[in-house]
């Protein structure tokens, strides 16, 4: 796949279709693959990476990149295309300046899950018939492939690209992934249990802002948390409230716009399941206002910018059984 992508990129650069390419290159370790912009065939040959650790969603980078001179080639996985569409809808990216090549999605690997097995010094991985062969500085280790995949891939919502100019590989389908199971499980707890669960999770927050910075829905010119006049500007997490406030507001700000790409939880250094907050909103929106998938198209009205005269009342929250 990596070879095919490099060749495609080189071809599109050579024939002048695009001026730049956004893809990924290796970071310090084999498993920290980060988005990168390439301008020449040589750079691509040397550094372009696409492997089982390549999970990062590059669509957010296109907010800036698509406004630059010339056209850019973006390789987008199915989940990334939803983010891209959503950004197009919000006029955050310039669609005409991006040439999208749809590439197959994951499942991608979670290095943390490999490390959790006591496997360190990872040099590379190979998926052999769903057994993961891990090349480490200490020799080869193995583990079942599916035990190492990212949570966000385990609950993948779609293998279908919702926007592209051309595809490499076959087109997939929208999946029924039971992605709301965990939300439902929490909903079925008592209020005290839910409070304890979230207190436990959110108190781990170190306010590093990684979730916000990676989120393709968080592209504000100036984030409210960075704005001293907003009344909610960044504060150190000296108090439990601070994390609550931050995460509720963040989730609310992306409600109806979050495509459920799962990047927030993927990048959280404290492994807080932040995507569950967003998924809770998605689940509520689906059940209360009709199925809505942000990023599925570029024209539909976002549920929070819309209404029906016979929408349910807020008391629907109270009607959901006992607390």
């Amino acid at each position: 796949m990596q070879e095919a992508m490099i060749n495609k990129a080189k071809q599109l650069l050579a024939d002048g279709t695009v001026d730049r390419v956004i893809g990924w290159k290796r970071g310090e370790f084999a498993y920290d693959i980060t988005p990168a912009v390439f301008e020449t065939a040589e750079e691509l040959e040397k550094e372009f990476v696409f492997d089982d650790f390549t999970a990062a969603n590059v669509s957010k980078y296109l907010v800036k990149e698509s406004k630059k001179e010339g056209k850019i080639l973006a390789f987008l996985k199915p989940c990334d295309t939803y983010s891209f569409n959503q950004l197009t809808k919000e006029h955050r990216v310039v669609r005409e300046n991006v040439y999208i090549v749809g590439i197959p999605g994951g499942p991608k690997l979670d290095a943390e899950k490999i490390k959790a097995k006591g496997i360190t010094g990872i040099l590379g991985v190979k998926n052999e018939n769903y057994t993961l062969k891990i090349d480490t500085v200490y020799g080869e280790e193995t583990m079942p492939f599916y035990e190492a995949i990212l949570d966000k891939c385990a609950t993948c919502k779609s293998k279908k690209h919702v926007v592209y100019d051309e595809l490499i590989g076959d087109e997939g389908e929208v999946l029924d992934s039971n992605r709301f199971d965990m939300v439902e499980k929490l909903e079925n707890m008592t209020a005290q249990e839910r409070y304890d669960f979230w207190r436990g999770e959110l108190s781990k927050c170190i306010r590093c802002n990684a979730c916000r910075n990676v989120c393709p829905a968080c592209t504000c010119e100036k984030c409210v948390f960075d704005n001293p006049n907003s009344g909610v500007e960044n504060k150190a997490p000296a108090d439990s409230f601070e994390e609550n406030m931050f995460h509720i507001i963040r989730a609310f700000h992306v409600a109806g716009r979050c495509t459920d790409c799962g990047e927030c939880s993927r990048v959280c250094p404290q492994h807080i399941p932040l995507h569950l907050l967003n998924r809770k909103f998605i689940k509520d929106i689906n059940s209360l206002y009709g199925e809505y998938q942000a990023g599925e198209d570029t024209t539909s009205r976002a549920p929070l910018n819309d209404y029906k005269q016979d929408d349910c009342e807020t008391t629907v929250v109270h009607e959901r059984g006992v607390e």
Binding site: K67, H91, C220, N227
Partner: protein
């Protein structure tokens, strides 16, 4: 440094009896920025206001807090007082310590404590108030009336009478609307055409009125005083400026089998036609669906007989654009379709007709020249059954939940006219109840019953079955006598519910006006502003706002005209300064705000920005038109970055109030 004055009102004993006003003044005097804190018996009185004015001058105040009655009561009083003392009126805040404190609490200690907190919140807010200036926006002195029925005609005539130019847009080839189809009017029984057609002529001859017939509103942009409207003039294939309305073409047209919509399809017209003799404008129109020239390219007779060369087979739809200061909606109503009412056999039997069809059957210009004949065999009906509330006051999805209001009266009229003209005809009326509120209405109904012996039967018609002998079996129940009835009628007349015209819904979207669940336009206030829509500059005339009879329609049409004239006489309008504004540096251009704005006040512009790295970038940013924005604040919450804020109720002002209350 802020210099705030606090003024605590006793309101006689209204406040002072439950709130220790001196303690409130004392406590608020210690709030940051407060330089003077006073109490007075009646702050709204002349001398109370002077107290405020003098303090503003003497202490050079930058903000005023009045602890008194509700701001809905005297906010304006104190704003004016401040303005007369040279302080921007929007630097005044009211703490409501009467309606929301002294009047509802009994314990002096806790009421005083609450009054202090409310005062603190107002002080905290006024710290962040900024001077606001109400902007002005010019008014285009021209009105648009959408719909050329009696409502639209009356509105246009009244506006023209006041000396303003007014355009009527009518979707049909002629103005006149439903009233032109009506035979006689209740309760006076005068001929509808006799009173309507002079008005139509007057409208066509008035130098201030332009009639765009066979036209539709295609697009509306802008705001009160300054709407830009695109009007689509549909191709009628006849040059309006040349056609004299001689009618020769309609006589010679070989395609004579086109259902005549003016006569409710009860007879036929030609493919080129003038809807009726008194049509305005009296200009022929070619129906492209039936014209052989337009369909097959063969014929051309109308063109050859037209002495002025008005026929133009190549004519195309044309869009014209015009500026207006006010728009009046007069889109009227239609009877509902009765397809779903199989029990009344409307689709099976030609002698089951709607009331509007009956109007045409009885009209001198109708299919039978005014003689009431059964559509099926052209014989005189001797027994006629009227069914009331067909689709009105309905709780199922077939009909409408509301009362159509006019049916009781027009049915009484029909019954009376039939009994008058054909005394040998028996007339039965089945009703749920007879509703006759209106001047001379009940008297009229009683005449039908008492003088004309119309059989009014309280009860429902269950089934209408056409029989092979030409009679119609009407099965009904008489609720008062508690018995089942079978009537072998010659004709059945259904009082079909009326509903807003189908063009109203898309129009409401264009105009950003509100409609109710039945697609009637919603007035700004059901009692106090019945002819205005909630959108400034858009007025409602006639049945588009709800079922109405002719006198009510005309009254509302004139009222809407008066409101529109009230707007048009102004050279400019003062805008509410408490409007939204967008911080361009923070705006993402994401369109969220535009989506929730009920007034279409937000547009986007591509603007060049100097970036921190000294490059320039073009960004899409929101721009609020202060003349259109009404200051609801929906956009401020939809905005993810907080770029959108509201003057007078800013994020920081509201949060400072929250903080003061929760301190």
């Amino acid at each position: 440094m802020k210099r705030i004055g606090v003024f605590v009102c006793h309101c006689g004993t209204n406040i002072a009896a439950t709130v220790d006003v001196k303690a409130v003044a004392e406590a608020l005097g210690h709030e940051p920025g407060v330089v003077i804190s006073q109490d007075y018996q009646y702050m709204c009185s002349e001398s109370g206001q002077n107290l405020v004015k003098n303090a503003i001058k003497e202490h050079n105040l930058t903000g005023v807090v009045v602890c008194s009655c509700s701001p809905r009561m005297h906010e304006n009083t104190f704003r004016k007082a401040a303005a007369s003392a040279g302080l921007n009126p929007y630097l005044v805040e009211i703490a409501n310590i009467r309606e929301q404190c002294s009047w509802i609490h009994k314990d002096i200690a806790s009421a005083t404590e609450k009054a202090i907190i409310l005062g603190k919140a107002a002080v905290a807010k006024v710290h962040l108030n900024s001077p606001l200036t109400a902007g002005e926006s010019p008014v285009v002195k021209r009105a648009l009336v959408i719909g050329g029925g009696i409502a639209g005609i009356q509105t246009a005539l009244d506006i023209a009478e006041a000396g303003f130019d007014v355009d009527i847009v009518e979707k049909n080839p002629t103005i006149g609307g439903k009233m032109a189809q009506i035979d006689k009017t209740f309760p006076t029984l005068d001929c509808a055409a006799c009173i309507l057609t002079p008005k139509m002529v007057e409208a066509s001859q008035n130098e201030h009125i332009t009639i765009h017939s066979f036209s539709e509103v295609a697009d509306v942009k802008g705001f009160v005083g300054n709407f830009t409207v695109k009007i689509k003039k549909k191709a009628r294939f006849v040059d309006e400026t040349k056609c004299t309305g001689c009618g020769l073409c309609t006589e010679k047209c070989p395609m004579k089998k086109v259902p005549n919509e003016f006569n409710m399809g009860l007879d036929n017209r030609t493919a080129i036609y003038i809807p009726f003799a008194q049509a305005v404008p009296k200009v022929a129109t070619i129906d492209p669906n039936y014209c052989m020239m337009l369909q097959k390219g063969k014929c051309g007779i109308c063109s050859s007989v037209c002495s002025v060369g008005a026929i133009d087979y190549k004519q195309e739809d044309k869009i014209i654009e015009q500026q207006y200061g006010a728009i009046i909606v007069a889109t009227g109503f239609n009877p509902i379709k009765l397809d779903k009412y199989d029990e009344f056999a409307y689709n099976q039997c030609p002698d089951v007709v709607t009331s509007l069809e009956l109007e045409r059957l009885m009209n001198a210009a109708g299919p039978n020249g005014g003689t009431l004949l059964r559509p099926s065999d052209k014989t005189h009906p001797h027994k006629i059954v009227f069914v009331q509330c067909v689709g009105s006051r309905c709780d199922d999805s077939k009909g409408k939940p509301y009362c159509s209001k006019i049916c009781c009266m027009y049915t009484a009229k029909h019954a009376m006219l039939i009994r008058e003209k054909y005394p040998d005809t028996d007339v039965y009326v089945f009703y749920i109840d007879v509703r006759t509120p209106g001047k001379n209405f009940d008297e009229f109904y009683r005449r039908a019953v008492e003088q004309y012996n119309v059989h009014y039967i309280k009860g429902m018609v269950g089934k209408v079955t056409p029989r092979s002998d030409g009679k119609i079996d009407v099965q009904a129940s008489d609720l008062l006598a508690n018995e089942q009835l079978h009537i072998d009628a010659d004709m059945v007349v259904l009082a079909a519910a009326i509903e807003p015209d189908k063009t109203a819904r898309p129009l409401a979207t264009m105009l950003t006006t509100q409609m109710d669940t039945n697609d009637f336009f919603t007035e700004a206030h059901p009692k106090l502003r019945p002819v205005e829509s909630a959108t400034a500059g858009i007025f409602l005339s006639g049945a588009c706002q709800g079922p109405k009879d002719i006198p009510e329609t005309v009254a509302q049409a004139s009222a809407a005209a008066a409101k529109a004239i009230g707007l048009l006489v102004k050279n400019s309008i003062t805008c509410n300064p408490c409007v939204a504004h967008s911080d361009e540096l923070m705006c993402n251009g994401c369109s969220s705000c535009e989506k929730v704005c009920p007034y279409g006040a937000i547009t986007y512009i591509d603007k060049e920005f100097r970036m921190p790295d000294r490059t320039t970038a073009i960004r899409r940013v929101a721009s609020v038109n202060p003349a259109v924005c009404q200051g609801c604040g929906a956009c401020t919450v939809a905005c993810p970055s907080g770029a959108m804020d509201l003057n007078g109720f800013s994020n920081s002002q509201i949060m400072s109030e929250v903080d003061a209350i929760c301190k």
